[in-house]
């Protein structure tokens, strides 16, 4: 994963259409029908997920996070969390 200095350098990748994301208690679960694997996503990772359409940038995720949770997490930490989530989705083969 390339971490750029600016969160808007490039749009986030697009997740596969066949992977199903559903809420479950305080977390979210993503079911991959190809591998029949279930992945548990915390709310931040789920927020990243819904922005992985190939259109949104990291700034959009940060704005959505701020709207939901306020200013309690610094922007550089948020960018690291977003990049970690994207790297994990990529490792799991969840992107197009």
């Amino acid at each position: 994963v390339t971490t750029t200095g600016h969160p808007d350098a490039m749009p986030l990748p697009r997740v596969r259409d066949d992977v199903i994301l559903r809420p479950l208690d305080d977390d979210w679960v993503a079911y991959d029908p190809q591998t029949q694997q279930l992945h548990v996503l915390n709310p931040t990772a789920a927020l990243v997920w819904v922005h992985c359409t190939g259109e949104f940038t990291r700034s959009a995720v940060i704005a959505a996070f701020r709207e939901a949770y306020g200013d309690r997490v610094a922007e550089d930490q948020l960018v690291r969390d977003i990049n970690a989530a994207v790297a994990e989705f990529r490792r799991l083969g969840l992107f197009v």
């Binding site: 199903i20 479950l24 679960v29 079911y31 029908p33 279930l38």
Partner: protein
């Protein structure tokens, strides 16, 4: 004169033609929960005959099979009927689980072979709870769990410990590891479809103490999804159904050494619907 036995779960009955009434009765008793009569001129799925040597022939569309004894024939037919009945209900998710209904809600026990599912189901039935199955249950898209009415296969020694049978096969041999059938209809019967109240991962430990802990809902969901059998609806439908099953259920991890104690503990964990 031949005798027709039909087993109905899905739309089309599975038809077995027997050479006499006694054999037809024995075949019907293999899966009594689905046995009945059939009309119409559909071809038979299996035709049972006896050859001049006294052996049994089962004629399938795919070919014939020969069995020296009636017991061997019945064992093969029970397996075949199980597969065909499951194949007639592919709109449902087939789950490797034991289950019973308590206070109108289902308790499901998940676990690999040897984890004690059949023993739990036996004790639910003996304790008066209508059961959903000892190894397979079925779930529909609305989140209701349906019974799969296959007889329980239980060690003779366990049945004997419950006061059922002598613990020895009918032929008098001392093979107490042999298994025998238990028909839940002789006790509390089969359950009506019900929503799920408890999903539990269970594990039998020889001489182990009863231990009940919380299981995370995602872990229960993963176990249910992984427990979907290829004979039924799979993939995303299995996942969505499992999600509905776990959505309002208590999710538990249970280790036990005494099945009777564990069965009651799980039954008590089911709360009535609001």
């Amino acid at each position: 004169m031949t005798h027709l036995v039909a087993f109905t779960l899905g739309r089309r009955p599975i038809r077995v033609r027997a050479p006499d009434a006694a054999t037809a009765g024995a075949i019907a008793s293999l899966v009594p929960g689905y046995a009945g009569s059939a009309n119409g001129a559909d071809p038979d799925d299996v035709r049972v005959e006896r050859d001049p040597s006294g052996a049994w022939l089962a004629r399938f569309p795919e070919g014939d099979a020969r069995f020296e004894t009636l017991d061997d024939l019945l064992e093969a037919l029970e397996y075949l009927l199980t597969l065909r009945l499951l194949a007639s209900a592919t709109d449902r998710v087939h789950l490797h689980a034991a289950g019973a209904v308590v206070n109108g809600r289902a308790v499901l026990a998940l676990g690999p072979s040897g984890s004690g599912k059949s023993s739990l189901a036996l004790h639910w039935s003996l304790s008066g709870y209508p059961v959903l199955g000892d190894d397979i249950v079925m779930a529909d898209e609305t989140g209701l769990v349906h019974p799969f009415k296959r007889l329980f296969s239980v060690h003779r020694a366990r049945l004997a410990a419950c006061g059922l049978g002598s613990g020895r096969p009918a032929d008098g041999s001392a093979d107490v590891e042999d298994e025998a059938w238990f028909d839940p209809a002789t006790r509390a019967g089969w359950a009506e479809p019900a929503p799920v109240g408890v999903v539990a991962m269970v594990r039998f430990v020889d001489h182990g103490q009863l231990s009940v802990g919380r299981l995370s809902r995602p872990t229960a969901l993963a176990a249910l999804t992984a427990g979907a059998m290829p004979s039924g609806a799979g993939g995303s439908q299995a996942f969505e159904t499992a999600l509905r099953l776990t959505a309002s259920a208590s999710t538990l991890a249970l280790t036990f050494g005494k099945a009777e104690e564990a069965a009651l503990a799980l039954a008590r964990a089911v709360t009535p619907p609001a």
